[in-house]
Amino acid sequence: MEMETTVKERIFDRYHIPKPIYGVLEYIVAWARKFSIWPIHFVTGCCSPEFMQVSGSRFDMERLGVLPFASVRQCDCIMIVGVISRKMGERVKYLYEQMGEPKYVVSVGACPTGGGPFHDSYSIVRADEIVPVDVYIPGCPPRPEAIIQGLMLLQEKIKREVKIGARGG
């Protein structure tokens, strides 16, 4: 964050670079970031087979740049696929804290969104009780097309974020 403010002060404000070029640079940076969302390979519940099919060849999600990756520090998204029990909820929090900024959370399925078929169970938590969620994808399980639409919504959100010269993430 510090670095970005000094870049803005040093280069852009001192040489009075006009707003349109600023806009183009932001657009390019956003385009690069939104086509390389790497989620953590972390499936917690019964929506996992549908997630598997999305990464298969018919509904290929890698064409959007989404590659489930194993190492947490190098990911920037956590896709909570399926129901979270209390024991798993602690791990979701650890993983969220281990990711580097900027990071996003996508809640896939009816269970982390609002409880789903297990809404009155003593043993589940909702995703937004633990981590701040960016995109909710309902369905039980959601169709692969719905998951891809959810990822495209996340891309839309990333495109609209202002990164250069902004404080915080």
């Binding site: 953590i40 087979p49 791990r91």
Partner: protein, 371 residues
């Protein structure tokens, strides 16, 4: 420093719920160098309290949580519960419904065994070629199920009294097409896995489970049949249409990871034969018997058993005359097989690199162990 002076030091590796392969559980491995001394399975990461939830649902609503106990193998789980409810109500579904149920169950068995192939291949480093092939082959079957029931994964199609709808027009021809296509594809799996020298080296002789140990430790499903025991609920207590269909119980004698893979492969072949028989010879008739929307069975108990892809599932329902069950006890196949997995370290000498191969040859699906 000679060998005798070095003390064995145990290091505990925690293979946590987030790891590069699939599986929502934590395995603790106590190693001394490369040799594994002890395996501990830490289950419960997907515990949803299904047995308690079912006490709060009517008998028909209860199908929904039960089917989510195993998403790749949905119909078998649902059928176990529905058979117990039918026993409690004292009704028998019509014959055509039984044949349709068998067909759906075999399609789910193939789905599940494909998943097992994919994971066992990934665990030996074959990634992710075979795993992605299985997603393509599974799409053929999912398309069939979508045509029949309207959903890809969780059907809610098998209900007390029969099945929801009859087969649509032209469905039987589509089934035969799919079976022929899949038969051609499955030869490639045999060549890629069983006849592949590197894969053989990783899987032959690894995780050997002898026949007496498999029975004594309570193994079930392909784990038990891979050790030479021919127990299969479809033959021991025929349910649905399995009494009228012709198929073999597949066993292999060696008891290692490769034997379990071969058992699953041949079971897929048998399943394709069964599906073809159903598509060709299914009897006519109604597909459903009328059952009230909120049935109230008499007080008593009902116990059913089905053979899911991973082993034997038991559903024991206690009723007290009300609209909800009094207690539902579910005997899960994966919980039994995870106990066998924990004892593997004591049965033979295994190395750290063998642990994923053994785990995925047992084919656990933790959602039905944790319920």
């Amino acid at each position: 420093m000679t060998e005798a002076q070095v003390e064995p030091e145990i290091m505990r590796i925690s293979w946590g719920p987030q790891h590069p392969m699939s599986g929502q559980t934590r395995i603790l491995i106590d190693v001394d160098g490369e040799v594994v001394h002890r395996l501990i399975a830490d289950l419960g990461f997907t515990h949803r309290g299904i047995e308690k939830i079912l006490e709060n649902r009517t008998f028909l609503q209860g199908i929904i949580p039960i089917e989510r106990m195993s998403m790749v193998d949905t119909a078998n789980m649902g059928l176990g519960y529905v058979l117990a409810v039918e026993e409690a109500l004292g009704i028998e579904p019509p014959e055509r419904a039984n044949w349709i149920r068998s067909m759906i169950c075999e399609i789910c068995r193939i789905n599940s065994h494909l998943y097992a192939f994919g994971l066992q291949a990934e665990s030996t480093g074959y990634f992710p070629a075979v795993f992605l092939w299985t997603t393509v082959d599974r799409e053929v079957l999912l398309d069939l199920m979508e045509r029949l029931t309207g959903a890809r994964w969780s059907y809610n199609f098998i209900i007390p009294g029969g099945v929801m709808n009859d087969l649509p027009e032209g469905f039987q021809d589509k089934v035969k097409e799919a079976v022929n296509y899949l038969r051609g594809r499955f030869e490639q799996y045999w060549e890629a896995m069983v006849e592949n020298a590197t894969f053989e080296m990783r899987c032959k002789g690894v995780g050997v489970l002898k026949r007496e140990e498999a029975i004594r430790l309570g193994a079930t499903g392909p784990v038990l049949r891979g050790s030479g025991v021919d127990m299969d609920v479809r033959k021991d207590e025929p349910y649905a249409a399995y009494g009228d269909l012709e198929f073999k119980v597949v066993t292999e004698a060696e008891g290692d990871a490769m034997a379990r893979l071969k058992v699953r492969y041949h079971e897929i072949e048998e399943s394709l034969n069964i599906i073809e028989q159903v598509a060709g010879d299914i009897p006519g008739g109604p597909v459903r018997v009328k059952v009230p929307l909120f049935p109230r069975p008499k007080p008593g108990e009902a116990m059913s058993r089905v053979e899911t892809a991973r082993g034997e599932l038991g559903v024991h329902i206690f009723t007290d005359g009300g609209m909800n069950p009094y207690r539902v006890k579910i005997n899960s196949p994966t919980l039994r097989n995870m106990y066998v997995f924990e004892r593997m370290a004591e049965l033979g000498r295994i190395l750290v690199a063998d642990v994923p191969v053994i785990l995925y040859s047992i084919d656990p699906w933790y959602l039905d162990a944790d319920r």
